[in-house]
C-alpha cells in the first residue's frame, strides 16, 4: 500500500521542481541561521542566490560528521531552542555524541516518512507493531514508534533487551510486524525455539530491519527462521533517524529514498566529485524540509548506488542499492557506531599498552561481538593471573564507558599481531563473510 499517493508517486519533473524550491528555502534559512554554513559558503565563495538548478548543488561544500561534533551540542541548530521539541544523539569518536534537534514539524514529517516506510513494507492499520528498537537517545525506538502510530497500527513499545519477555508478548499480543536490528531478529527466533515457541507459527508476517549492515544471505535466514518478509530500512540520526529510505515489499530490491524531503547524491569519496549515474560511491544527502538541523550535502560515508529505473510498486522516488560498506572505518556493533580510533584512544590511555592491537568483529548467536586483541609486554605482564585479568577488565570497562559496547579483551603474545608495511589492518570483520 502507498501511504501518501500524492507525494510518493509524484512525476519525476514535479519531484525535481519541488526539490529545487525546497532546497532554495533551506539554503536561505541556513545561510542566515547557522554560523557554520555562513562560514562554509563564504569560504567556498558561493552565494545561495547562485544556486539556480539542482545541478548547482555540486557547488556547495559538504557537511561532515566532524562539523556536528565541532558544534556540540546545539551549534548546528537553525532555530532557537524554544522551537526544538525533541533532542536525540548518537555516539561519537571523542566520547561526545552527535546531537540532533527536531521541531514539532520535523517530528510530524518524521512520523509521516516512517508511516510511508511501514506501508511500503506491507504494514497497515490493524497491525500490531512490536517495536524492539531501543527507546532513548538513539533515534530507532521513538522514530519507529511515531510512524507506527501515524499509520494507525497498534504499537507495542518494547525497546531492546529482555528477550524472554519479548517472546512472551510477541506470542500473547499477536504481534504482526517486528521492528529491530537484523541480528536481534535471528536471536529472537533462536531464543523462542529454546522456549519451545516457533515464531513461524505466530501471526508475525513482516520484519523491518536496519541500523546495522546485513546481507542477502542474512535476509533469507531471517525470512526462513521467522516465516516473515524481511524489509531493509535505512536511516541515520543526523539526517532524520529511521525512515530516510526503505525497500518496498513488491521488489525488495533497493530502498526508496523520500525525495520530496531529501536530495541524494553519489560521490567519489576520494575526490568529492559526483560519479556517473548508476555508479557506486558514497551517499551524500541534503535535507530540504528539516527545520531543527538542516544539513547541506551531508557525507553519510555509506557506499551505495542509485537505482533510477522505475519500480513496479509505483513509487517514483529513486532507490538506494543495499549499502555495501563504508568509506571510512566506522563499525556498527549492535547498532552502536564505533571507530577503531576510539578504541585506540582507550588503549593508549592505559599505561604500558603496546600500540599494536586488532579488533575482531564477529557474529555469535546472531549478536555482534567485538574482541580487542592487545599484545602483552614486560610492563603489563605479571606472574599473577589476577593482574592480567584486571588489565583485561580495565580495558573492557573503559571501552564500555566511552562507547557503550561490551567487548572481550584477549591478551596475546608480543609480535603476534601482524605488522603491515602500510596501513595496519586494525579490523577483521568476520560478519562480512557470513
Amino acid at each position: 500500500m502507498i501511504w501518501n499517493d500524492d507525494f510518493e508517486t509524484l512525476p519525476r519533473e514535479a519531484i525535481a521542481s519541488l526539490q529545487l524550491k525546497r532546497l532554495k528555502q533551506t539554503l536561505d534559512r541556513v545561510s542566515v541561521a547557522v554560523p557554520l554554513y555562513r562560514e562554509k559558503f563564504s569560504a567556498a565563495k558561493v552565494e545561495t542566490a547562485q544556486i539556480k538548478s539542482l545541478d548547482d548543488l555540486r557547488r556547495l561544500p559538504f557537511t561532515l560528521k566532524q562539523d556536528l561534533r565541532d558544534n556540540y551540542p546545539y551549534g548546528m541548530f537553525a532555530v532557537p531552542l524554544d522551537e526544538i521539541v525533541r533532542i536525540h544523539a548518537s555516539s561519537g569518536t571523542t566520547g561526545k555524541p552527535t546531537v540532533v534537534g527536531y521541531t514539532r514539524r520535523d517530528i510530524d514529517i518524521w512520523a509521516e516518512l516512517m508511516a510511508r516506510a511501514f506501508a511500503a513494507a506491507g504494514s497497515h492499520r490493524g497491525d500490531v507493531i512490536h517495536n524492539a528498537y531501543g527507546y532513548g537517545l538513539f533515534t530507532g525506538g521513538l522514530g519507529a514508534h511515531y510512524g507506527a502510530e501515524r499509520l494507525g497500527a497498534s504499537v507495542i513499545p518494547m525497546s531492546g533487551g529482555n528477550t524472554k519477555k519479548q517472546i512472551m508478548i510477541m506470542k500473547d499480543f499477536g504481534s504482526t510486524v517486528l521492528t529491530c536490528t537484523p541480528s536481534y531478529a535471528l536471536y529472537l527466533a533462536e531464543a523462542a525455539l529454546e522456549e519451545g515457541i516457533d515464531i513461524r507459527k505466530l501471526p508475525l508476517r513482516i520484519g523491518i530491519h536496519g541500523a546495522e549492515p546485513w546481507s542477502e544471505q542474512m535476509r533469507s535466514e531471517i525470512e526462513e527462521k521467522l516465516g516473515i518478509k524481511a524489509i531493509d530500512i535505512y536511516g541515520l540520526s543526523e539526517i532524520l533517524g529511521p525512515g530516510v529510505a526503505i525497500e518496498c515489499v513488491e521488489e525488495q530490491h533497493g530502498l526508496h529514498i523520500w525525495e520530496d524531503h531529501f536530495i541524494p547524491e553519489i560521490i567519489n569519496p576520494e575526490t568529492g566529485e559526483r560519479v556517473p549515474a548508476g555508479e557506486k560511491g558514497e551517499l551524500v544527502i541534503t535535507t530540504i524540509t528539516k527545520e531543527g538541523i538542516p544539513l547541506i550535502r551531508y557525507r553519510t560515508r555509506d557506499i551505495t548506488r542509485l537505482i533510477v529505473e522505475p519500480c513496479t510498486c509505483g513509487r517514483t522516488h529513486v532507490r538506494l542499492e543495499r549499502m555495501s560498506g563504508r568509506s571510512d572505518d566506522m563499525l556498527i556493533i549492535r547498532g552502536v557506531n564505533v571507530f577503531p580510533s576510539q578504541i585506540e584512544s582507550v588503549l593508549f590511555s592505559i599505561e604500558g599498552i603496546e600500540p599494536h592491537y586488532q579488533l575482531i568483529v564477529d557474529r555469535a548467536d546472531n549478536l555482534d561481538t567485538l574482541e580487542v586483541q592487545v599484545e602483552v609486554n614486560e610492563q603489563t605482564f605479571s606472574d599473577e593471573i589476577k593482574v592480567l585479568q584486571n588489565l583485561s577488565h580495565h580495558i573492557t570497562k573503559d571501552i564500555k564507558d566511552l562507547l557503550g559496547v561490551t567487548c572481550k579483551v584477549r591478551l596475546v603474545e608480543p609480535k603476534s599481531i601482524a605488522r603491515s608495511e602500510g596501513k595496519a589492518q586494525r579490523v577483521i570483520d568476520k560478519r562480512l563473510d557470513k
Partner: protein, 143 residues
C-alpha cells in the same frame, strides 16, 4: 633468602609450551620447578631454572614476554599437617599467599614448597622467627 623465578606469558595455542622448553633446552638450561596457571585465553608459566638470567635472555630473544620475580622456598615437614602448620603461621601474621607450588627435590627429607608472597621480606621474617627453614636461591638452583 629469596629465589628468583621467571614467568612467561603463553597464549592458549598449541606448541607454545613445547617452544619454551625447546628454547631452554637448546641453551643447556635445566628446569628445576614449574607451575602453570591458565585461563581460557592465556597461561602463565612460572619456572625456577639453574641459570635465571640466561633463561630470561634466550626466551626474550625468541619473542616471549618474560618477567623475573622473587619467591620463597620453604622446607615443609613431609607428614600430615606439615603444610598446614606453615600456612597457619602465615595466616596468623596476615601474610597473604599469592600462589604456591611444590618443588620436585627434597631437602633433608623435607618437602620444598615455593611461595609467592606480596610481602616477601615480611614473610621471610615471620617464617624464620618460627624456625621454618627458608632455603637460599643458590641451593635451590643446584639441588
Amino acid at each position: 633468602m629469596k629465589v628468583e623465578q621467571i614467568s612467561i606469558f603463553i597464549e592458549n595455542k598449541s606448541g607454545r609450551l613445547a617452544e619454551v622448553s625447546r628454547v631452554l633446552g637448546d641453551s643447556g638450561i635445566n628446569i628445576r620447578a614449574l607451575s602453570l596457571a591458565d585461563t581460557s585465553d592465556f597461561g602463565i608459566l612460572r619456572l625456577i631454572v639453574d641459570q635465571t638470567d640466561k633463561a630470561k635472555m634466550v626466551l626474550k630473544e625468541h619473542g616471549f614476554t618474560v618477567n623475573k620475580t622473587e619467591v620463597v622456598a620453604v622446607e615443609v615437614p613431609d607428614r600430615p599437617k606439615g603444610l598446614c602448620g606453615i600456612l597457619e603461621i602465615l595466616d596468623a601474621n596476615k601474610i597473604n599467599v599469592e600462589y604456591m607450588y611444590a618443588y620436585v627435590e627434597r631437602s633433608n627429607s623435607n618437602a620444598i614448597i615455593i611461595f609467592r608472597f606480596d610481602q616477601v621480606e615480611a614473610a621471610i621474617k615471620v617464617l624464620t622467627e618460627h624456625d621454618v627453614v627458608v632455603l637460599k636461591g643458590e641451593r635451590i638452583y643446584t639441588l
